[in-house]
């Protein structure tokens, strides 16, 4: 009996101490981690989408909330003075969720550019979505009314050969972006002011 109690006590105390310690470390690093995520995951994509932005979309980021969606918006002032936004949506592929940063010109409702942010696809194949710009550049200039599905599914996007599932993941993310954009546009425009 004594042995049993000591087993339980030691394990419990140990895990509790571990929990406390980790919580402390977490709270100490939380802010920095958030910045790092922004810096390394979102910043390069936004940089690519708005190469000539006249403001700092990262610093001016704001959050839009509706009943069930919470979305981080990166606003941008384009060089021609028109307003644009970028936000991230997710599609899924075999390697897991694919993050897609979509830049949209608010005045024309056209996609400026898209970039893959996070993915864990097989190196060399799925990761082409990130490195091979010829695939993502298909989206540039498309209106938000376009059917972003792959050509095989009745849409307009050419799949990457040998990486159909990844391509599908990107197109799903784009379609999701379309849906969110249409739903949230009024709110976004309101907050942009």
């Amino acid at each position: 009996m004594r042995e049993m109690i000591s087993m339980i006590v030691v394990l419990t105390v140990l895990t509790a101490v571990s929990g406390g310690l980790l919580a402390a470390v977490k709270s100490g690093t939380e802010v920095r981690i958030e910045n790092q995520v922004l810096k390394f995951q979102k910043a390069p994509a936004i940089q690519d989408i708005f190469p000539e932005a006249t403001n700092d979309p990262l610093a001016e980021r704001f959050t839009v909330k509706t009943d069930d969606i919470e979305l981080q918006i990166f606003p941008s002032l384009l060089s021609d003075g028109s307003k644009a936004i970028a936000f991230e949506t997710k599609g899924s592929a075999f390697g897991g969720p694919i993050g897609l940063m979509v830049g949209i010109n608010l005045s024309t409702d056209e996609i400026i550019d898209v970039r893959v942010t996070t993915h864990a696809e097989t190196p060399g194949i799925g990761s082409r979505a990130k490195d091979d710009l010829s695939f993502v550049s298909q989206f540039s200039g498309l209106s938000m009314d376009t059917n972003f599905a792959l050509k095989g599914d009745g849409g307009v996007i050419d799949a990457m050969s040998g990486a159909t599932v990844t391509s599908k993941g990107v197109s799903v993310a784009a379609a999701q972006a379309k849906e969110i954009y249409q739903k949230l546009k009024p709110e976004i425009v309101k907050q942009m002011k």
Binding site: M7, V10, L14, S18, L21, T29, V37, G124
Partner: protein, 202 residues
């Protein structure tokens, strides 16, 4: 004392250098050695966990009941792994992304648990730290060496730290991509092991 301290430390660098002499902890060795940089990063992270978990386990070795021994060791190790994970996220985020799932998997690296069981749970804290440091450094060295071979043949470069290529092959060099793919990891490690046997068994 000083002598045995030195002995525990240096044995990890040659006599028991993982994963060559102690064929353990192969998964990270194979997975993250696409470049020298990854190798060193993984090695340092593992060393950190090794040193601190060895220290703590050796301090607590008389308190922990033997039936929940493994569970306790694992909790201690996992705590340090999580600290490494958080710290790496905060300060070396890019490396964190590259090493990915293998950071949390340091928990199940047989070297760490192996040292905890075989050494730290039987020796005092000073020796245990020396042991952890030695084995960890040896592991880092091995990872860096394998990383160097794979990166050099597979990519034509040698990079010690982010954006700091020490060496780059000329334009005519055709990288042998096989080496940075999965099979190259196995073959590279196998051949290095062979080399070690050749040197060591004279």
């Amino acid at each position: 004392m000083a002598q045995s301290l030195a002995k525990e430390f240096t044995k990890g660098l040659w006599a028991e250098i993982p994963p060559f002499r102690l064929v353990l902890g192969l998964c990270p060795v194979l997975a993250v050695t696409k470049s020298v940089e990854n190798g060193i990063g993984m090695g340092v992270a593992t060393t950190f966990v090794l040193v601190f978990s060895n220290l703590l386990i050796s301090l607590l070795r008389n308190v922990i009941p033997s039936k929940v021994r493994i569970a306790c060791f694992i909790v201690i190790i996992a705590t340090f792994v999580t600290i490494v994970e958080l710290v790496m996220q905060a300060y070396t985020y890019e490396l964190f992304l590259k090493l990915g799932i293998f950071i949390p998997l340091i928990v199940v690296n047989c070297i760490v648990l192996g040292r905890a069981e075989a050494f730290a749970s039987k020796n005092g804290p000073v020796l245990s730290v020396a042991d952890g440091l030695g084995i960890g450094l040896g592991f880092t060295l091995s990872l860096a060496a394998l990383g160097a071979v794979r990166e050099f043949i597979g990519n034509g470069t040698l990079t010690i730290w982010e954006g700091l290529p020490v060496f780059e092959m000329g334009g005519n060099f055709l990288p042998f991509q096989f080496m940075i793919e999965a099979p190259g990891a196995f073959v590279g490690l196998g051949l290095m092991l062979c080399l070690m046997n050749l040197i060591g068994k004279k």
